[in-house]
Symmetry: C2
């Protein structure tokens, strides 16, 4: 806010609450604005065509520039990906519920009770393989965090339209100090990985890329983490896979159809499935950096300068 | 079991269920045994004086050797310590409960909703300090995992009877590639740390070492993790600190008086406090390694050889 309010050339109109903007208020105040910042929760798709699915050709036709906030949330999402991998393996859903529901005093201890696969390598299982569906900045930041857990192999899948690049893979392996980084197909990724992170873009090309066929090929001791978009994972297939033990557990921050995910949703009811309400970027530091970048995009856009992060709407 | 059953010199008597041993069965079968393996859940303190608090002088007087299972659980506990640090910062208790209780569809999104402190360093907050109460193997394994999150400083407290060792601290810093490793007092640890891990032994010397006075000195954005013994933390003080915002959050795998921790326990009711039912070593790999070490201790002890891990009962 200080960046905007301290600029004498700007007239700033602000929705005064820390909640979603009232739609009538917006429709009254938006016309004539030179620039506008909208948030995830502003339901404007029929009006400004801006939300998770952006009508880019319409913006290009009208000559509207579009700024966004990439990169600044990389570390926050990588942190949450590690948290979900651990929670899925260590049965955090069941163990926290036992305590919260007051059942700890009555719980019968047994030597392998609550046991799941260990994220870290151990003397008797000394290697670990990380699998990534999509291998961009967040995937690499997640890989970096896995190295001290004893991960020595990294497999990934990528957009079929981009050619394989063994030299780049070797550079990534050298940078993080692991033995192997290899691009593979989905079947090999499923078969070989101890933990699989879904970190590819949404859209038609990746719709339900994690389906029954993929899940059936996973290791029974593996875990799946989705911190990208809900549409990449077939929720019914994942719930069935968890009920039948095709994999050990899952952690998802995003669900197809969110936020209409109630207590009867198959993933909410599924065993060993941690479901979070899309909080991967929700840290104080990251949200401040997202806000700062959004404002700098806005101000530069208004005054005809290059935005720090502008989407090329002409492609 | 194969190690025992395949040894022709041993007669093996085994409680047949994967649950706590029936006490009458044990009292009937234990007399005359040359060696015995007992588990956490076998309530024998009045009979064999073996449980979490071991009557070591009594064992020494009777000439009973005591094997235990150190080290093999280091990585499992370090993994869980990282998981709890992330869960405490990212409000995992509240966010998972919102989803599980079916409230996600009704939740009003706001720019800083669910936001907590980010474990990773960020461009605008580029350093992080880890604090350890106790700095043994598990603490160092936890520190190793924090390095890719951007931690550059490590502070710790240690048993006052051991002298400071700046050369050893410098070696640890060099080994993990961080700038500073310093032994400090409790006040400095509380003031300077972004995350504090309680990893010291239990007993009288550390009883309620984390109390109101300590918690009041912590950063409001810091989190506390206890994966050692419940007695080190004053539960009432921690619950009060969380209610009043002296620190951001906490994650505890152990609670004083466990397992008598019901839904009305102050920490179970406290905001931003994740409570787990003592599962830090509960991974399949680690429990197998603990079992194998326990059996090797037993067999060597029976045949008069040195145990792989024997407690010196004469000190």
């Amino acid at each position: 806010m200080p960046i905007l309010l301290n600029n004498p050339e700007l007239e700033v109109v602000v929705w005064p609450e820390d909640t979603s903007c009232d739609r009538d208020w917006l429709l009254e105040n938006a016309p004539g604005a030179t620039g506008i910042i909208v948030l995830l929760s502003d339901k404007l798709s029929d009006y400004l065509c801006i939300l998770e699915h952006i009508d880019v050709p319409e913006l290009a036709k009208r000559g509207v520039k579009l700024g966004y906030t990439p990169d600044v949330l990389t570390d926050a999402v990588a942190d949450l990906s590690i948290m979900l991998a651990l929670m899925a393996g260590r049965n955090a859903k069941e163990t926290t519920q036992i305590v919260q529901s007051g059942q700890w005093p009555n719980h019968v201890w047994s030597p392998f009770g609550f046991c799941g696969p260990q994220l870290s390598a151990t003397p008797t299982s000394p290697t670990r393989t990380a699998g990534f569906i999509g291998f961009g900045r967040i995937a690499k930041a997640t890989l970096a965090r896995l190295v001290p857990f004893g991960f020595t192999r990294c497999l990934y899948t990528a957009n079929p339209s981009t050619p394989p690049n063994a030299a780049a893979d070797a550079q990534v392996a050298a940078k993080y100090g692991i033995k192997e980084v290899h691009r593979v197909n989905m079947a090999e990724l499923a078969r070989e990985s101890d933990v699989i992170f879904v970190l590819a873009p949404g859209g038609q090309n990746t719709y339900h890329i994690v389906n029954e066929n993929f899940l059936k090929q996973m290791k029974k001791t593996a875990v799946l983490v989705n911190t990208s978009r809900g549409t990449l994972v077939d929720s019914d297939a994942l719930a069935k896979a968890l009920r039948e033990g095709w994999l050990h557990g899952a952690g998802v921050d995003v669900v197809e159809g969110e936020p209409d995910v109630d207590a009867n949703h198959p993933l909410v009811k599924a065993p060993r499935c941690v479901v979070l309400p899309h909080i991967a970027s929700a840290t104080t530091e990251t949200r401040i950096e997202m806000a700062t970048l959004a404002v700098n995009n806005l101000v530069n856009g208004i005054f005809g300068k290059p935005m720090p992060a502008e989407l090329n709407t002409s492609r």
